[in-house]
Amino acid sequence: MLCMLCQKKEARVHLSDVKNGKIKKVDLCEDCAKAKGVDDPTGFALADLLLGLGATEELAAGASADAEPACPNCGLTQSDFKKASRLGCPTCYETFAESLAGMLKGMHTGTRHVGKVPRGLKLGREVQERLQALQRSLEAAIAVENYEEAARLRDAIKQLRENPGAVVAG
């Protein structure tokens, strides 16, 4: 049996864990086990965490399906990904979103990006959020028949849509 990580060397470290009634197994060569810090049996919970076992199972299941889905943008298939452990293009993250979700959960601290956002996109998000807030206020104003306020909000929304940069800056 080959190591699940490097797929090169013989797996000599075999770990298994029962979770939610399902048995999960990891087979690693000594080097990969050491690199992942799982050669110490007491540290096993970590193996689950680092390797994203759920993901490995899902990937295996996906690969054995008859008609293999391919990324519409770059043509990468699930088994291409399994072989190289690399995705083909940014769109692959949408194409393989389902199987990636489990894998990302195992690999990382969270499942949502926290941190730097490119400046252009940040503006986009702020404008979106502002528009949604204004829209809600507008509906609320109409509901209580405050037409003066509703007219003001409608103008603000129009202005924001036409010139997002100026409104956010102001």
Binding site: G43, P90, Y93, L104, R112, H113, G120
Partner: protein, 368 residues
């Protein structure tokens, strides 16, 4: 300009110092970025790779930080050039293996280096001497912010910066510190430390990063997780862990001198003996012995030697740097002989290590 004319000579490069550099040899922050609408380099066809490479090279070279820098396509660099770049930790071994369609751009001060079409379209790093993780993050953050004005990055609001390998998605950041930990190795505590660091979700690697062995008691500690934590949080966490490892190493040095002085003196004395007298030394042996010599310098046992000399020899002992000093192509055996000659010459005037540690001990970390 040729790469070898551009790079600072080893003597000069070894003199760059920074905070806590007796243990932290360097700090690095690297960001992975990709362009929207293009396949990742490993999957892209050659024509697309070449187009992306040119586009990115132009954008990177336009940045003010890269003024008077060095830029080259990988196929325009010789095997020796690439080896030197790897030995200086400026590019990865993976990047050195690339040819047409990949490039590097290096800043004049050699602190910023951008690899184009490595595993991702852009792998940009700031590499600073000593413990300067925050400074390195700031430097690379600025370069990235400059680049994003010109480039349309592949970014998702839920998953962050999209990378070829899902292990890098999110912030795309890798923060790492290169640590010299001879006392933790001599005191046989290093395995425990590595396991403890692993449990915090951080990786410990060897001298040349992923998949390399810890030659010369040099270890790289870096974050592995990139999604769900901000860059600042990751830098902060790594800084804390590095500060703790420094403390453990300092404690181990003090304890070894206190409890097992002969063992320490024996290792350092033998290292000096071989380095100053051998006639054939492999690069692996040289690096391991130089690590002990560096420890001797830190402990005040070698009053004639400055740490920068050891760091310079560390660099010069490596195959590429050694080859550089000789016009003809050297075989491994020839290199071992010339390496020994170089080391004997460098240590000719250096008196042998003291027979006991100086009092008061110099092995006190400098006040912060």
């Amino acid at each position: 300009m040729k790469l070898l004319e551009f790079l600072s000579p080893p003597t000069q490069a070894a003199q760059r110092g920074g905070p806590a550099d007796r243990i932290v040899m360097s700090s690095r922050v690297r960001l992975a970025r990709n362009l929207a609408g293009f396949a990742f380099p490993g999957w892209a066809k050659k024509a697309e790779r070449l187009r992306v490479c040119q586009l990115l090279r132009d954008a990177v070279e336009r940045q003010p930080q890269m003024r008077e820098g060095f830029a080259a396509a990988l196929d325009d660099l010789s095997a020796l050039d690439k080896q030197i770049l790897v030995e200086r930790h400026l590019i990865s071994r993976e990047h050195a293996a690339k040819g047409a369609g990949s490039a590097i751009v290096l800043s004049r001060d050699e602190r910023l280096c951008v690899m184009i079409n490595e595993e991702d379209h852009l792998r940009m790093q700031a590499l600073l001497p000593g413990c300067q993780l925050k400074e390195a993050w700031q430097a690379i953050d600025e370069l990235d912010t400059g680049l994003e004005q010109d480039l349309d990055y592949a970014f998702s609001h839920t998953l962050g910066y999209l990378t070829a390998c899902p292990t890098n998605v999110g912030t795309g950041i890798r923060v790492s510190a290169m640590l010299h930990l001879p006392a933790l190795v001599l005191d046989e505590q290093i395995t425990q430390i590595i396991q403890a660091v692993n449990k915090l979700g951080l990786a410990v690697r060897g001298l040349y990063g992923e998949g390399t062995e810890a030659l010369g008691n040099v270890f790289q500690v870096s974050n592995q997780r990139t999604l769900g934590e901000s860059e600042a949080e990751i830098v902060e966490r790594l800084s804390k862990v590095v500060a703790q490892i420094i403390e453990h190493e300092e404690n181990a040095r003090a304890r070894l001198l206190e409890n097992r002085p002969k063992m320490v003196l024996n290792h350092i004395g033998r290292a000096y003996g071989i380095l100053a007298n051998a006639h054939s030394v492999s690069s692996k042996e040289a690096i391991n012995l130089l690590s002990l010599l560096r420890l001797g310098v830190d402990l005040g046992l070698l009053p004639d030697v400055r740490r920068s000399l050891v760091d310079e020899l560390f660099m010069l002992a490596q195959p590429g740097h050694l080859q550089l000093r000789h016009a003809e192509k050297l075989s491994a055996d020839e290199r071992d002989i010339l390496r020994a000659d170089m080391l004997r010459e460098a240590l000719r005037e250096v008196r042998r290590p003291l027979a006991s540690p100086p009092t008061p001990p110099v092995d006190k970390p400098p006040a912060p």
